[in-house]
């Protein structure tokens, strides 16, 4: 199995780091799936009450990499599945982010110390035309073929209502405060473009209203789902991508789905609803 990719565009590098940074803070281990056309990052949060939330991110290799080459497990299954500890990558990348613009970033699958690693070779500019080479070796595990089916792409959601989310930064700060009151919140969306988030405790009930939202699709008049604010807050806190549009799909009592729309990548966050007794 081989993999080699090189990024030279500073914007792409920044975006890639942003995506990776977002992924890696959300779960203990992260799966990287490499195909001939795309890179997929899959994070499944651990320790869940019910069905697990899932982050699914697809990166178009053509956009990010100037050079890309891979050879999968076999000609039939021409894909590579790697598992790595999210924290390791997060640490490496925070170092990269702070050190300014890199001239190029090369990612390779290598074998060092007789175990597979994902090697990031970063070329940093430094004063007077010199370049400094920084190499990070991140240990990875190869996921065996029989487990590949666990990481199948989730089905396309057929939502009851789909709206454009308000500014994520705004939502983040509001949810941050609401989660201190209670963990369970009810998300309610109407076909008029009104989104409300309600938290109830014994003493008080707090509702945030966001209206004039653009409605994408509507099958029903309204839909609501109960979600865990802690998870949503966690996701939003680490999200650093500033996408232009985020679509929120709600499936009555079942699912809240956030879809980040962008040309070069797609990031989806599936947050299953909690069934109240």
């Amino acid at each position: 199995m081989k993999f080699r990719g090189k990024m030279i565009d500073p914007n792409c590098i920044k975006q890639f780091i942003g995506i990776l940074g977002c992924m890696t803070k959300l779960g203990k281990s992260c799966i990287l799936r490499i195909t001939t056309t795309d890179l997929y990052f899959i994070v499944r949060e651990s320790q869940t009450i019910s069905a697990s939330p899932l982050i699914w991110c697809t990166l178009d290799e053509g956009h990010f990499f100037s050079e890309f080459g891979m050879e999968g497990l076999s000609t039939v299954d021409n894909e590579i599945y790697l598992e790595f500890v999210a924290e390791n990558v997060a640490r490496t990348l925070s170092a990269l982010k702070v050190s300014g613009t890199a001239k190029s970033v090369k990612i390779k699958l290598t074998k060092k110390l007789s175990s597979p690693c994902l090697t990031f070779e970063i070329d940093l500019p430094s004063g007077s035309n010199h370049s400094r080479l920084v190499v990070h070796d991140i240990p990875v595990n190869l996921v065996p073929r029989r487990l590949w089916n666990d990481y199948v792409e989730p089905e396309v959601v057929d939502p009851d209502i789909s709206v454009h989310m308000p500014q994520l930064r705004l939502m983040k700060s509001i949810i941050e405060r609401m989660k201190n009151l209670a963990n369970m919140a009810t998300l309610h969306v109407t076909s008029e473009g009104l989104l409300t988030l309600t938290v109830e405790t014994e003493a008080v009930s707090v509702t945030s209203h966001f209206d004039n939202l653009h409605v994408e699709k509507q099958k029903e008049e309204e839909a609501s789902v109960t979600i865990e604010l802690k998870r949503l807050s966690n996701f939003l806190a680490h999200e650093q991508l500033n996408p232009q549009k985020v679509v929120c799909d709600v499936l009555q009592s079942k699912l809240m789905h956030l879809n980040f729309l962008s040309d070069s990548y797609s990031l989806q966050y599936f947050l299953p609803g909690i069934n109240d007794q």
């Binding site: 390791n88 490496t92 170092a95 702070v98 110390l113 007077s128 010199h130 240990p139």
Partner: protein
């Protein structure tokens, strides 16, 4: 000692104290004829740091403490003292507010009281007066010279900072591998951890990136980043270049900086001694065992010769049993190989810290006397040093009686 500083100098002094505070828990103040020296040693005796402020740094400076009550030139002495870092740090804690309000600063070590007096004259006529009491007058010295290091390189402190950014903030130790035309930094992974499970980072710095680069020996040196970050915090704030002198694994590394004739600083850091291959796995287990066994405070405090004389100081800094991280050094500079026993492989060598020794010829007698293996010999020598001294100093100590014997007959 008495000195007067202006506003900008106070800031520099405050930054120096912050930097020293990150390294050690106690500040040693030693006035000399040429200026004021602030020193500290870290708890495991693996880092020594000294800031020297020369006379031009001060508006006014006098290293002698005069007898203010009765002008008697025979009584004037040079007072050295040792303070807990916390107390002096609380005076200089906020550099921002010092910058905004302090106009001049007077620091005094009077003869007749054991106080460090700091007085800030601030804007709007405000005067802040601090009396910091000290209890001990020990000093710490490290014997080292700036010559004699085969490898030396220097560059701006910002350059070092940027390089270290590539390493995650939790990296504790970094290995510097020197070659003829480059320096290669990599994070050091403890022997006990499987390296294939850790992220390994390497940074290569070419010779041309340095201001000065002179490597004679190709070698590998590993030391802690924590102290280096403290040094860089000071150097970067004042935009200074940092010189680095290295010799080899196990030998201390010297970082120094200088600002014209105003002040200079030296930082001596201990490095990991080279591991002995055959006994690595065994030694790491024994090392762990030793760590848990010796978590009690080292015997240093009880055996220390506390003096109340202000000039002679016997700080006992021959080394502490801080787990197995530290090799007990002998008082001469280059005998660290004696202590390279299997139990202490790849542990930080403590610096050869020396203090003015009143019995300089004693060490020569000890060597042939003791038979057991080197580490035990050094340990025994250390623990029993008072017994082995040729003379004992007995001094009548004047002590104030706070509570007389209740059973004493009138």
């Amino acid at each position: 000692m008495k000195c007067l500083l202006d506003g900008t100098s106070v800031k520099v002094l405050a930054r120096a104290i912050h930097s020293l505070a990150k390294i050690g828990d106690e500040l040693h103040i030693a006035p000399t004829e040429n200026g004021l020296t602030l020193k500290t040693v870290n708890a495991s005796k693996s880092a020594y740091s000294a800031f020297n402020f020369h006379i031009p740094f001060f508006l006014d400076y006098s290293h002698i403490s005069e007898n203010t009550v009765q002008a008697d030139p025979d009584d004037d002495t040079v007072i050295k003292c040792k303070l807990p870092m916390k107390s002096i740090l609380s005076v200089f804690r906020s550099i921002g507010s010092l910058e905004k309000s302090v106009e001049t600063c007077k620091i005094m070590l009077p003869l007749l009281e054991a106080l460090l007096i700091i007085e800030f004259k601030c804007k709007h006529g405000i005067v802040k007066h601090f009396n910091l009491r000290y209890f001990e007058c020990e000093s710490v010295e490290a014997e080292f010279s700036k010559e004699g290091y085969p490898s030396k390189f220097s560059c701006s402190s910002r350059f070092y900072s940027e390089t270290l950014l590539s390493f995650h903030s939790s990296t504790q130790e970094v290995t510097w591998s020197l070659a003829m035309d480059q320096v290669h930094l990599s994070n050091h992974i403890d022997d006990e951890i499987d390296p294939s499970k850790c992220v390994r980072t390497e940074v290569t710095l070419a010779k041309d990136e340095f201001i000065e680069f002179n490597v004679a020996l190709c070698t590998q040196v590993t030391f802690c980043l924590k102290e280096l970050r403290a040094i860089l915090a000071f150097a970067e704030a004042l935009k200074l270049d940092l010189d680095c002198r290295m010799e080899g694994a196990g030998q201390p590394v010297l970082f120094s900086l200088q600002k014209e004739d105003l002040y200079s600083a030296d930082f001596l850091l201990a490095t990991l001694s080279p591991a002995l291959d055959s006994t690595v796995s065994v030694s790491s287990r024994t090392a762990k065992h030793e760590v848990s066994a010796s978590n009690h405070p080292s015997p240093v405090p009880t055996l220390r010769n506390k003096t109340d004389s202000k000039s002679i100081s016997h700080g006992n800094l021959l080394g502490s049993r801080n787990g197995s991280r530290v090799n007990l050094p002998t008082p001469s500079v280059r005998q660290t190989s004696v202590n390279d026993t299997p139990e202490n492989t790849s542990r930080l060598n403590s610096l050869s810290l020396i203090e003015p020794h009143p019995f300089p010829d004693m060490e020569v007698d000890l060597e042939p006397e003791i038979q057991p293996p080197p580490a035990k010999r050094a340990r025994a020598r250390y623990i029993f040093q008072n017994c082995l001294k040729s003379t004992q100093e007995f001094r009548e100590r004047q002590t104030e009686v706070f509570a007389p014997d209740s059973e004493e007959d009138e």
